[in-house]
């Protein structure tokens, strides 16, 4: 009996592997591993390769040699590059402001109760759902210098007497691509902000109304502060996407006329892929990184401040 009792109370020592996993540090490492491998393979490695490419003299079919920062020095003296830098900032800033304004307005309207609300909400998403290249081609036709339906309509309404050169004039071409970007981006803002609005308890607004707050005050002092964290996250996503935009400009203007609408991505493509100067193209792409990094860090810090408040 005594022997049996002793045998049944003997502590079975767990295996080394299991003991390791019981240690939180090891467990965390194991759990993080799949994500780390994925990020390493698909983000860190291409990024590292991109950096190495930008520091070389590689051309298509020629690996080139290590040239330190020669490509970046060349970019510094490249007037088209600085046009692309300015364009990217201008394009991102203007479109983000409009997308936020119109998206918020639309979200507030969609947050009301009306007949056919679900259908309207689905339709609002259309510009965001249609593949960008397809919708941009449709816009390209609408802005076509010769066959523009916009010009035709304005002409028929008696508002213009000569054709508006939408894509042939530098400023108008930039305006045109901004219009398309805003058209495409507003639904994303509207739906995301609508989701944010629906998390705000109606009682708060009702209480404010009972206290005599007018609609604008209710929005400004109740809705807006509560919506701010969502708004900042939506803006963060939008800024990153807009800053690195490619397909819209590529289809509409190809960066023209005379390089007037190039963004970072389209210029990098023009240099690296079309002209075959891979290292210089990589340098243009990477030049986007510090700018974007500063913007994103500033936004994330602001989001944290808003959340702590």
């Amino acid at each position: 009996m005594a022997v049996t009792a002793l045998g049944s109370t003997e502590v079975v020592r767990p295996s080394v592997r299991r003991r390791r996993l019981e240690d939180e540090r090891w467990l965390a490492l194991v759990l993080l591993m799949p994500t780390a491998i994925l990020l390493g393979l698909f983000i860190a490695y291409p990024f590292f390769e991109g950096v190495m490419l930008s520091l070389s003299s590689a051309r298509v079919g020629d690996p080139g040699e290590f040239v330190w920062f020669k490509n970046f020095v060349k970019l510094w003296h490249d007037s088209i590059f600085w046009t692309a830098v300015w364009n990217t900032f201008w394009y991102t800033a203007v479109t983000t402001v409009f997308k936020l304004g119109l998206g918020l307005w639309l979200a507030l309207l969609l947050n009301r109760h009306f007949r056919g609300k679900a259908i309207v909400r689905a339709f609002v998403l259309l510009p965001f759902i249609i593949p960008t290249v397809l919708s941009t081609f449709a816009w390209k036709w609408m802005f076509d210098p010769t066959f523009s339906v916009i010009n035709w309509s304005l002409f028929k309404l008696g508002l213009i007497s000569a054709r508006i050169n939408w894509l042939g004039d530098a400023d108008l071409a930039m305006t045109s691509i901004m219009i398309v970007n805003i058209w495409r981006g507003v639904p994303f803002f509207a739906i995301s902000l609508l989701a944010g609005l629906q998390t705000i308890s109606p009682e708060l607004n009702e209480a404010a109304a009972i206290d005599g707050a007018r609609p604008w005050n209710r929005f400004w002092y109740v809705t807006w502060p509560l919506l701010l964290p969502v708004t900042m996250v939506v803006m963060l996503f939008s800024v990153i996407q807009t800053f690195a935009d490619f397909q819209l400009v590529y289809v509409m203007t190809g960066g023209g006329p005379a390089n007037a609408t190039h963004l970072f991505a389209t210029y990098a493509y023009q240099i690296g892929i079309v002209s075959g100067l891979l290292s210089e193209g990589a340098a243009v792409s990477l030049a986007m990184f510090p700018f974007l990094f500063v913007i994103v860090v500033a936004q994330l810090l602001y989001i944290r401040r808003v959340e702590v408040r």
């Binding site: 051309r59 298509v60 079919g61 020629d62 060349k74 003296h77 490249d78 007037s79 076509d144 210098p145 010769t146 066959f147 054709r163 050169n165 894509l167 042939g168 004039d169 530098a170 071409a173 203007t253 190809g254 960066g255 023209g256 006329p257 005379a258 390089n259 007037a260 493509y269 023009q270 240099i271 690296g272 892929i273 079309v274 002209s275 075959g276 100067l277 891979l278």
Partner: protein
């Protein structure tokens, strides 16, 4: 559960047994690899032809015949001409893609490290067909090797509406730029401007801007191929003149047109003249009922072709040169070479050439006497297009640096900037600095 018939099981087992019994022994006895392993595929990437009938001929007649004759599979793919360079770059870097890729002009020099030498095939073609034109040879060969197989030249001529020119008192096509500007001014006043792109597009933009520059005496570099010589009195004069020409006589919406826009504008009667291949005229021949003048007559009876006018330094042309590169990464190089030989054989190439109706001029002298050129006098100016072209990079060679300048559209942008209002001296200075970056690297 799906029903399986007894008979089909026996059939399947029988065929499996046959394969097993002949198996290795059968393969060894025949001395050949099994048929399924022999079928090689040659992937040929080309532009979407501006003569649709030619692409149809390729896909429906010539490619199936080639497959039958050569015992290979052919994947014939067409893309917009502006997408050929990105496709070539991506394929080379990834080490896989089409076996044969069409190259425009001196793009061949950009990919020179990644192509197979086709000297044997090209020289044999030249010998057989009375010699390859100097213009086509300069694009395909760097003097050491043939980077590509010359295919054709798409002659660039001004297509114009005869009746509209007559209406403004211009009964024969202007010989000089000054005369052309005068005519354009009158035409624009009547609502029929000239349509000329200055956009980033492979054909109609550079084939206008380069010969225009040369005709004023401007050039990118000296004959040494190193000294950038763009910033000259002649170039500045050419830019100044273009500013006036653009404002006085051109459709200002054309600044960012691609190669298809001017075709549509001409066919819809919004412009009176445009530098183009013969595709506009050929399209009006194909659909005479659809394309009619404002008087209700067939438009094709009102279209003529003329070369670009002359400037103070003479008259020049630059025509879109096409050739096919056999890529080094290709695992089917022998099959691709066999295919090139097949498609360039006279009986095969001729059918394609005839379908072009003169839109394409072959790269060898022999075709100058072909009956295609006698069938339609409107197409006659295209006959000698490949004979008269001058290559980009002039007065140097059309080498890799010249190709880089061309693919960056520097000369075209110089004129586009001026058309947008930049001072001519500034525009020339900008282009000069861009060229210096290329030629000093």
């Amino acid at each position: 559960m799906a029903n399986t018939k007894r008979r089909s099981v026996i059939k399947l087992a029988g065929s499996a047994a046959a394969v097993a019994s002949t198996g290795m022994a059968g393969i060894l006895a025949s001395g050949r690899t099994p048929a399924y392993a022999q079928t090689k595929t040659v992937h040929w990437l080309r532009w979407v032809d501006f003569v649709p009938a030619s692409d149809q001929l390729m896909t429906k007649v010539l490619m199936p015949e080639a497959e039958k004759d050569l015992g290979i599979k052919i994947k014939f793919e067409t893309v917009n001409g502006n997408d050929l360079q990105p496709r070539a770059t991506a394929a080379i870097q990834s080490g896989s893609g089409p076996d044969l890729i069409q190259a425009f002009n001196n793009n061949t020099y950009i990919y020179a490290n990644s192509v197979v030498d086709l000297t044997d095939l090209a020289e044999e073609l030249g010998k057989r067909e009375g010699g390859i034109y100097k213009y086509c040879r300069a694009f395909a060969s760097d003097g050491k090797m043939f980077m590509s197989m010359p295919w054709a030249v798409i002659g660039g001529m001004i297509a114009y509406r005869k009746s509209w020119f007559d209406e403004v008192g211009v009964t024969s096509f202007p010989k000089t730029w000054v005369e052309y500007r005068e005519a354009a001014k009158k035409l624009k006043a009547k609502g029929h401007p000239i349509g000329q792109t200055l956009g980033h597009t492979f054909g109609d933009a550079p084939t206008f801007t380069y010969p225009y520059l040369w005709s004023w005496g401007g050039k990118e570099v000296e004959a040494d191929g190193k000294t950038v010589a763009l910033n000259s009195k002649e170039t500045v004069e050419s830019v100044k003149f273009l500013q006036g020409f653009w404002k006085d006589g051109c459709d200002e919406g054309a600044l960012a047109w691609d190669d298809t826009n001017n075709n549509r504008a001409f066919l819809s009667q919004t412009i009176s003249a445009t530098l183009n291949g013969a595709s506009i005229y050929i399209e009006t021949l194909r659909k005479p009922d659809q394309y009619q003048t404002e008087k209700g007559t067939p438009m094709n009876k009102d279209i003529l072709h003329a070369p670009l006018p002359a400037g103070p330094a003479g008259q020049f042309g630059m025509h879109l040169n096409q050739s096919d590169m056999l890529m080094k990464y290709s695992k089917n190089q022998d099959a691709a070479k066999e295919f090139l030989k097949w498609i360039h054989a006279e009986k095969n190439y001729e059918r394609w050439f005839v379908s072009q109706k003169g839109f394409a001029t072959p790269p060898t002298a022999r075709w100058e006497t072909h009956k295609v050129w006698d069938e339609d006098p409107v197409m006659a100016p295209f006959k000698v297009a490949a004979k008269l072209g001058q290559t980009p990079g002039y007065a140097g060679l059309p080498n890799q640096k010249a190709a880089e300048a061309l693919s960056k559209y520097i000369i075209t942008d110089m004129y586009a900037k001026a058309a947008q209002g930049m001072a001519p001296e500034e525009a020339v200075k900008w282009a000069e600095s861009e060229l210096k970056k290329i030629y000093s690297a």
